[in-house]
Structure formats: structure tokens, C-alpha cells
Symmetry: C2
């Protein structure tokens, strides 16, 4: 596993990709790759099965249209849906459109298997997954800094040419991402764990609210809002993603279901045997503590100050201006909306020990501190 | 269902509770009730099974020590754990220490049944639940504005005296809360739905992280951090809460397990039959849309601006100062920490239509806007 970042200078891209980069598929991710690579001086050629999309990406500055006369690119990026990766990568390699190819699909084992079926030299392909995205899609939504600071996972296997890895690594670094290398199976298990399964569970919790009385829903507070936040995602897209990673997602959800059954048994059989319930809750605390916090370090417990603010424009500005005078770095911010009330609570997380200093400053400037 | 708020003047409490309020149990909630009532001029008497805790609450200004010579209080607040409510309320009513009693336990059906066993006139009791709390406990953690703007649920039944309801309503209003009336069963079903079950599910997701490789955990982003945020709660306390509301929690989790099984079946049997998977995800979107947003209204889709900020003290202050000049109200704020990177993303939610104005102002002041 590697995670590093270097300062990329204009011109570096020309050295890393002397024959340029071919982007096949100019949706959100492909066009963002083009924009980011153009910023560091790479020669970027664009094509899409829908030519109008490629022309739109060109008009946005993501590169120039690819032509049949282009020499083989140093690297191609197949920015197409998971189920199309095998065919597209095979076509690129077999036609000589590029020397090496990577893709950007959010699952990795399935595309790699399909590439093996379609490409005559699959070792020139290395799968990758930039862990960045937006709620919107299409070239117009592309951003040159979409990948800035985000993990970019590379999944070489025993047959992968070293040069394919080198060029995909260069791509990740050129667009500002932090490359991480793991096997395709490890990747798929990891995203099942950190993204796909939590999405399913958030949807399961949110689905409870479809058929209950309004007065019950009204009691919902910030906790359940957090748990269900990701459940708003597009059901069609998520059906595709979950289906493409069905085995890994199912493995995580089977384990979760086993724990759920232990909880249900503890709740439904004997109130005196709470051990299983307590064990599951303790595992939750332990697991939560392993999640990365700021700076990618393990979750740190911050001290929290809760400030009462009026719901008027400028109140947050006034608050943060006063926070600024305390010279305390705010690690996280949450706004807790009181139902039906013209008042909000702003929770400020700071390093333990800094809360007294910040609290004194804010009280001195007239803010009501709740904790 | 009612939800209202009125301006309480010092002196109003003396009129509402001419013979004062007796608080039994001076932990976080009981002491906070005392502090809030003292602020509006009520006569507050305090006692606790551990006399040192009552003395501590007195020293904090939450009231005076109760004595055996006190006349019956206008209202008593039994601020004791759910399993102790029945006995404590029975003792208060049977001894004549107060004319009417309420409690503050986070479940309501079980305490009401126990009061019926212990009190000779259980109609003088009305259950209630202020939906406010802190991660810390004890009188020293008490706050006079703990209940400010929070829902305070009252659960009268057919046998409840009207005067008990009137006095509990006055209590809720005096401490700044928003009273809501529903049956004990509806309350318990509601908190199972909005709080207890989401807590279990967050723990189930977080528990997956106890036994996986560090490189998998490293890919965790803001989504799973949201889903698991509440899982950090004290396992002992939550075991008590879940056990006291076992029936209602189990009913919610059984429904969730049914949907989970539909998802598992869709993932494990035929990739062609994705209908069940899509249906569950769609229900998640629909349920999420019903959750209250700011001002207790149904969830509104806000427009989101993503601003890139350096991780230095004063950056949030500078950002919000510039936001302030745009005269746009920020509805919500989230900070998205890039793993391993010295840069953060601040997501600002604003009313749809206001994002262009805010984006222009921030760009003009040198901020990088990602979306």
C-alpha cells in the first residue's frame, strides 16, 4: 500500500506520456481526467460512443478529438460503465490505439475478468478506481480537481506489465490523487465494506419511514439523519453498482445479518440475557474507532463545543470570525437543526484541551455555549 | 400533536407551580430541569437517592434541598432510570410529596405500566420524554438550556387527570421545549424508529470494521462515517435503552431484516432479477425524503457548494466571513476530510438558486469551488 503526493509541474505530463493519453468515454470521470491532465500539459485525445459527448468535452477544454490517424497513446483511460470495460479495453489494445490501458470502474474483479476474455494481451491493462465522484453526471459536471487528494486504487495482478502500472500511477499522481495498490478482490471487498454495504443499510433504515405516521417522523433528529444521509442516491445507479459487486456486498451483509439476528434474539427471548446485545454494540464502538478521521489517521475523539446561533444570514460568518480570533483549529462542524425552531446549534469539534480556550473566547463575545 | 413555543417571563413559573416543583433524581436531566426552572423563578426542591448528588445540584444553583416538612409540590419530576420510574412515582404520589408527577425516561409504556402497579392514584402521573441529552452525565454536566427548542413528548392516557397534563405542559414550556402529545405506544414506536433502531444498525455496520485489514479501512470516506456516527455511544447505556423498548425496536428491525433478505436474495440468485434490489433502494430514497430538515419541515434538497480549504487555523473563519458578505443563509455545513491530505472540503448547503450568487462571491474572493 502506498499513499503519497508530489507536486506536479506543467510539462511533467508530457514526459510521463510522450505519445499522449487517450480518454474513451467522456462522462463526468473521463472529462475530469482530461481537464486535470490538460492542466499539467498532457496531450489528451477524447472519444465517446456518443460523439456529441466527446465534442462537448473538447469544448470544455478536456482535450482534442481522437482521430483514426493518431499514433498509439502512451496510456488509454477507459472511462465507461463496469459492464462495458472488457469490450472497450479489448478494442483499444487489439486495435493498437494505446500501449497500455486502465479503467476507472468502481468494481475491479469483474472488469479484469472481462478484459481477459477480450484482449489478446491483457497484461497491458491495469484496473484502477479513483474514489471520487459527484451526485451529477455528464461532461458538463466534470471538474479538473475532482481527484485532488482522493485515494486512487490500482489493482495489478501477476500478469500485469510493470509499465502499465507505472503509467497508471503517473496518471493518478498527475491528477492530484493519492495512489493505493491492492488486489482486485481486496478492492472489491473494501468498497463493499466502506461504501456499498453502508449504502444498502442506509436505504434499509430510510425505507422504514415510508409507511409511518407524520408525528413519528417529526421526532427524527440528527442521529437518524446521519445514518440515512447516503440513502438519497440514484436507485438505478446503485442497483448497477451493487449487482456488479454482488458477491462481496453479499458477504458483508451476511455477516451483518448474523449480528442482527443475535440482536433480535436478545431482544425477543430473555431480557435477562443482554450479553449478545451488549457484545454487538461494543463491536460497533470498536469498529467505529478504526474508521479514518481527518488526515487519514484513525478516528480521534475530539472535544465538542455546542454554540446556539440564530437562524439569520451572517450568523455563521460572525461565529467563525470569532472562532478565528481564538486561534483554535476547528476539526469538524455540524449543524443540528431544532425541529420547528428559529434557532440552530453549531457543533464545533476541536482537539481535546482546546475547548476551554475556544469556549472562553466565544462566551466573551456573547455566544451561548451549550457544552 | 402540538408544537409551539412561547416566551416565558420570570415569574410565570411561580404562577404555574404555586407550591413549587420537586425534582427527584439530580443527574444530568433532573439538574438541568432545576437550572431551567430556577431561571424562570420557580421554587425548585431537589432530592436524590444519593444525597451527595442532590447537594451538588444545589451548589450548582438548581434549587434547594427538599425536606420532610415541605408541602406537596405542584408537580414532581421523577428524573430516574426507566426501571426505577414506577417505584419512585408511586412513592411520591402515595406519600403526598407532590400533587402530580411526570418522568423523563426515554421509553414510556413500561414506566406507565409500573406506575399503575405502585401508585394508588396513577391518574396523577403523566409520562413525558424531553428529547435532549448529552454524551456526558451527572449534575455537573447539566445545562439550563438543555431543552431549548427540543421536542418534549407527553404521553397521557384515558385515566390521566387533565391537571397532570396541564402542569407537565407548563414544565415543558417553562424550560423552552416544544411539547408534543402522543400515546405511550406511539412514542415508543417512534423512538424505536428514529433513534433506537438506527443506533443498532449503525453499530452493525461499524462492527464490520473490527476484523478487516487496515488497507480496506483506509478507503472509508464521509459516507460510512455518517452511517456509523452514532455507533460510538456507550454500550451499557444503549443495552438498557434497547432492552426497555425491546418490543418496538424488534418490530422495526424485523421489518428491516425482511428487506435485507430481499436484497440478499437479489444479490445471490439471479443478476437479471434486480427488481427487489431497486425497490428497496427506491423506498430508501422515499423514506429519506420524509425526514425532517431544518425548521422541522420535510427534507428539502439544497444546492451544495464545495469549497477547497487549507487545513490551517482561521480558514473556516475567513470562509464564513466571505460567505457572510454574500448575504446567503447557509442551511447546513459538512467538512469532508481528504485522507492523508492537508486540504479539506467544506460543503455548504444553500437554498436552490442561491448557489450561483454565493459561488460568484466566493470565487471573486479567491476560493476554489468544486461544485
Amino acid at each position: 500500500m502506498t499513499a503519497e503526493r508530489s507536486t506536479v509541474q506543467p510539462g511533467d505530463a508530457a514526459a510521463a506520456f510522450p505519445a499522449g493519453v487517450l480518454v474513451v468515454g467522456t462522462g463526468l470521470v473521463g472529462t475530469s481526467v482530461g481537464l486535470a491532465l490538460r492542466r499539467v500539459g498532457a496531450d489528451v485525445r477524447l472519444r465517446d460512443a456518443t460523439p456529441a459527448l466527446a465534442r462537448e468535452a473538447v469544448s470544455l477544454g478536456a482535450g482534442r478529438l481522437a482521430t483514426a490517424d493518431d499514433p498509439p497513446a502512451s496510456l488509454a483511460v477507459a472511462a465507461v460503465p463496469p459492464e462495458a470495460v472488457g469490450e472497450v479495453v479489448g478494442e483499444i489494445l487489439n486495435s493498437g490505439a494505446a500501449e497500455y490501458v486502465t479503467d476507472v470502474a468502481s468494481v475491479k474483479a469483474l472488469p479484469a475478468a472481462r478484459v481477459g476474455e477480450h484482449a489478446t494481451d491483457p497484461g497491458r491493462y491495469v484496473g484502477s478506481h479513483p474514489m471520487a465522484g459527484r451526485e451529477v453526471s455528464g461532461p458538463a459536471a466534470a471538474l479538473p480537481d475532482l481527484f485532488e487528494g482522493r485515494p486512487w486504487v490500482l489493482c495489478p495482478d501477476d500478469g500485469t506489465h510493470q509499465q502499465a502500472v507505472t503509467r497508471a500511477l503517473a496518471l493518478a499522481r498527475m491528477v492530484g490523487a493519492a495512489p493505493i495498490t491492492m488486489t482486485a478482490d481486496d478492492h472489491d471487498a473494501a468498497v463493499a465494506l466502506v461504501s456499498h454495504s453502508p449504502h444498502v443499510v442506509a436505504a434499509l433504515v430510510a425505507a422504514r419511514f415510508t409507511a409511518v405516521a407524520e408525528q413519528q417522523v417529526r421526532l427524527a433528529g440528527p442521529g437518524v439523519a446521519d445514518v440515512t444521509r447516503v440513502a438519497g442516491g440514484d436507485p438505478e445507479l446503485w442497483t448497477e453498482i451493487l449487482t456488479a459487486n454482488a458477491g462481496a456486498v453479499s458477504a458483508v451483509l451476511r455477516g451483518l445479518r448474523g449480528d442482527l439476528d443475535r440482536v433480535l434474539e436478545a431482544l425477543e427471548t430473555s431480557a435477562d440475557d443482554r450479553r449478545n446485545l451488549r457484545d454487538v454494540l461494543r463491536s460497533g464502538v470498536d469498529g467505529r474507532a478504526r474508521l479514518p478521521g481527518k488526515h487519514g489517521t484513525a478516528h480521534t475523539e475530539f472535544a465538542t463545543l455546542v454554540v446556539v446561533v440564530d437562524d439569520r444570514p451572517g450568523q455563521l460568518a460572525a461565529l467563525f470570525a470569532d472562532v478565528g480570533t481564538a486561534e483554535v483549529n476547528v476539526e469538524d462542524v455540524r449543524i443540528d437543526h431544532s425541529p420547528g425552531q428559529p434557532v440552530g446549534l453549531v457543533e464545533l469539534d476541536v482537539r481535546p484541551g482546546a475547548e476551554d480556550q475556544l469556549g472562553d473566547v466565544l462566551r466573551g463575545r456573547g455566544w451561548t455555549i451549550r457544552g
